[in-house]
Symmetry: C2
Subunit: 528 residues, 2 copies
């Protein structure tokens, strides 16, 4: 046993060091300013420290998270340079297209949601006359309703471990309205965004590296990071780029059998719909195949549905996996299904509020008890996030004072996102060697770059992978931050990057111009 | 390896099932209402489910968290009974003394903090005239200042993985003012309460059951739960009840050697000061001994300092471990120290906001990089919690419009807590067979009950441990919810319970009366 553990440690450490051959770049991943560099290196002899790369948990070493990785650290350094030495770089701002973070790029919050949150934070003003002049009547009414659902109206108290019951009632009602089939508030676990919910399920399902989780490739790196942190095995299934990132059950079957032959018990299947980083919206028939596959193979279906509000094409609709499985006649007894939702995405994009929930169905009482216990250890998720999660699932209705402004804000954001997606997609597809599937939903484009051999050699010489090489050059030339495809996984030998569609519309023409100019120059330099 | 893992699984499962012999009580731990019982058991044949107690992560099974355990589930059921069948129980309300959750028991939030939070949630009202009538001038000013520290004033955006830089600056300045020695904003990691920070450090330090963490006994069960979830070994050191829960380095040394002799590498030492559940405030000399011990033995010092504002006795003061270690001449190069702070405790008690931070000092750059990566996987903590964490470390100052009301609220809460602690302590000490150390700080009393043999036999017959038996009887007779000492750990053969000092002052006399009456009857029934 000790020999095994030591071997695993050595492997993880070797992998880690191989990935971080360039020491200064490795350091820059963490160090966001000079100050921290000074203080961090002030430990005279790090080898005498009780904590070293050799003694920490090798699962932590193994974990990678590209969305905030090397490229973003370079961007933060360049941003500091823009402040310290204006005019010395070939651009005057950094355009963060690396992360689905709409409000960081100027998107405004939905007014009604923020009115209610402010009133719940400071309920003393609810019955003052000035408040009428500052807040809409229905936000005041909604705040009262929410406060009445909180025991003692105490928004500063820990709640039930699953979240405030009245808010879970509102969420369940919202799910019922969406799906047209029953939802139980006791199946809802409110969480600080979707990430902790995903970690919780991985922690439950993974005992060792013999437990596998089927994940799409490309995938959102939260999944690979969480599986690595919990010591499981990511069993990849490849989305088919040629058919618009389609998902074939034959591929699922093949990868499952392959994993089994290696002694891996596959516990669950992750599906991200709408797709991240790929932006596709699954067809209902495809979803049925997936449900059938999970049922037949005894897999938990982990459905990442955080982009359910983000669909941009008229011929596609979002269907929840719960709705699809219920429409097939499968109930609690037939399929174990967890649906993840977040307030960070949708048209609202309230990433900083860290609200979200998972709807947990089809587990036996004793397993549900274990999930409840895990939630209890962290006491509860933040109450503002809980309130917001209930609001996004029960927004203003026709006839409410806020309805028109709410609808205007929502539709304005969604239609603008659709236009931005189309403009960027067209621009990318017009470039030499780049092909880009449509962003049917979510917030991303994931173009393939057919890199010339000379660029691949140059990347090798620069001790990096070709897509990272491309993204670094793009950043240094234009200030545009995108994430290399290698951070998400891709068919070996293909190269991609993920670019969000989130910069405000007035910035899009400049992005297109900068990207086009850069790409032409890059190809001129490296064309074979 | 597989054999080893299977053996471990069997052990964990056996332990789990031994602890849950009473099925209905075990189910009630999770099931908060009839609805969920129906839906949870509607899975026709749970054994056909892909997820069973035999297949999930045995570390999850092993984890226990008594603060929200069996007693609280009974309390929730009784609360429902009070609603459904009023007048049928011997009390008319449940008094939750199980958890440090002040606002759930009627404590009001600090006005200034909530004003600022509301304004940051809905900045559109900042420059409207009505706002002047509703909010204090300095809360408006502070909200502007905070918004200016947030890139794009976007309170709805993910922040830097460690938290918003300007807020970390304010926190570092607050730490400097507290300790009189420098603090670096780049050492601060803002988190959703202290719990995720503790988990992050455990995840970093624990690779296997061969990694040990020295923890006080009694301890706050977050530590035992987190160590269990990450698969490490809790190495206990016993606090000395007879000397007011003192901490002897000879005991630390003995337990460390004992662990080493079993092949366990002890990685870190947890100290909770002021103590939870024990309420003591460590003397500075004692803290020096602990620092010296950690330095000498190469242990990370994990300092839980979330009760730093809660000190009730004039002869004791809170000193941070960072201040103490710096005063001994130990800097970054000498000791690895993590200090945990939370907005849930203190006089503010904003548990529902889930704000907190850890200050990470004395780690090498490559380890800090790993901690940063772990923080990045979850993107960031909630921004309202971040703002609040900065506010509690930089409250209004003399001369600010809010200062007088702020000071009045703060001092009112702290002096009332001191009175409540004293009244409850005196009441407990007046009871037959009960001895109770002073609550010098924190929010708890941890009395020892010298239970008669007959009560111990009765507990055995009821298939439970004696302190749980006592707490159940207390709850059923009085509606008072306390947590059995076995949930925190105690010297074998001794029995305790943890009782918060948080019920509002007008409730304290009734609690004293009910507790006294119950205890007399209990002793009359079971006295040998």
């Amino acid at each position: 046993m000790r020999k095994f553990a030591a071997g695993r440690l050595k492997n993880a450490l070797t992998r880690y060091l191989n990935n971080h051959t360039n020491l200064s770049s490795s350091q820059s991943r963490f160090l966001s300013s000079k100050t921290v560099l000074d203080s961090a290196t002030s430990m005279a002899d790090p080898s005498s420290s009780p904590v070293t790369l050799q003694t920490i948990n090798p699962k932590v070493l193994k974990c990678e998270y590209a969305v905030r990785g090397e490229i973003v650290n370079i961007a933060q350094r360049l941003q500091q340079e823009l402040l310290d030495k204006p005019g010395t770089l070939p651009f005057d701002e950094i355009l963060y297209c690396n992360i689905g973070n709409p409000q960081s790029l100027g998107q405004h919050p939905i007014t009604f949601f923020r009115e209610v949150l402010a009133l719940c934070d400071y309920p003393s003003i609810l019955d003052k006359s000035e408040t009428q002049g500052l807040f809409s009547a229905d936000s005041i009414e909604r705040a009262w309703k929410i406060l009445d659902q909180i025991p003692g109206r105490a928004t500063g108290a820990y709640s039930h471990s699953q979240g405030i019951k009245g808010l879970r009632d509102a969420i369940a009602a919202g799910i019922e309205a969406r799906d047209g089939c029953p939802a139980d508030p006791n199946d809802i676990f409110l969480t600080d965004g979707a990430s902790p919910a995903v970690h919780m399920m991985m922690q439950l399902l993974i005992s060792s590296e013999k437990d596998g989780i089927l994940c799409p490739i490309p995938q959102y790196p939260l999944y690979s990071a969480s599986i690595a942190l919990h010591g499981g095995t990511l069993v990849p299934y490849y989305l088919d780029e040629a058919s618009g990132w389609g998902l074939e059950t034959s591929e699922l079957k093949k990868q499952l059998e392959d994993a089994k032959s290696k002694g891996i018990s596959v516990r669950a299947l992750v599906v991200i719909n709408p797709g991240n980083p790929t932006g596709q919206v699954l067809a209902e028939g495809n979803q049925r195949d997936i449900v059938e596959f999970c049922k037949k193979e005894g897999l938990v279906l982990l459905a990442d549905e955080v982009y359910q509000e983000n669909v941009y094409v008229p011929d596609k609709k979002f269907h929840s996996f719960k709705k699809v499985s219920r429409s097939m006649g499968y109930g609690e007894a037939d399929i174990s299904l967890v649906s993840f939702q977040s307030v960070s995405k949708g048209y609202y994009g309230e990433c900083g509020k860290r609200g979200g929930y998972m709807e947990v169905t089809g587990f036996s009482a004793d397993i549900r008890e274990q999930i409840y216990k895990m939630a209890s250890v962290n006491l509860c998720s933040n109450i503002s996030g809980q309130i917001l999660a209930s609001l996004v699932m029960s927004p203003p209705k026709v006839g409410d004072e806020s309805y028109d402004s709410y609808r205007g804000e929502r539709d304005g954001i969604l239609s603008s996102l659709a236009r931005r997606a189309k403009t960027l997609e067209d621009a990318l597809n017009s470039l030499e060697g780049i092909t880009c599937n449509k962003a049917e939903g979510a917030m991303y484009l994931f173009p393939q770059i057919n890199l010339p051999q000379k660029a691949i050699e140059a990347a090798k010489a620069a001790k990096t992978v070709p897509d990272t090489f491309y993204c670094r050059q793009l950043l240094n030339a234009t200030g545009i931050v995108v994430v290399p495809g290698s951070g998400f996984g891709q068919v070996p030998g293909t190269w991609h990057f993920r670019c969000t569609i989130l910069p405000q519309e007035d910035k899009i023409p400049a992005i297109v111009t900068r990207l086009t100019d850069f790409h032409k120059k890059f190809m001129d330099e490296y064309r074979d």
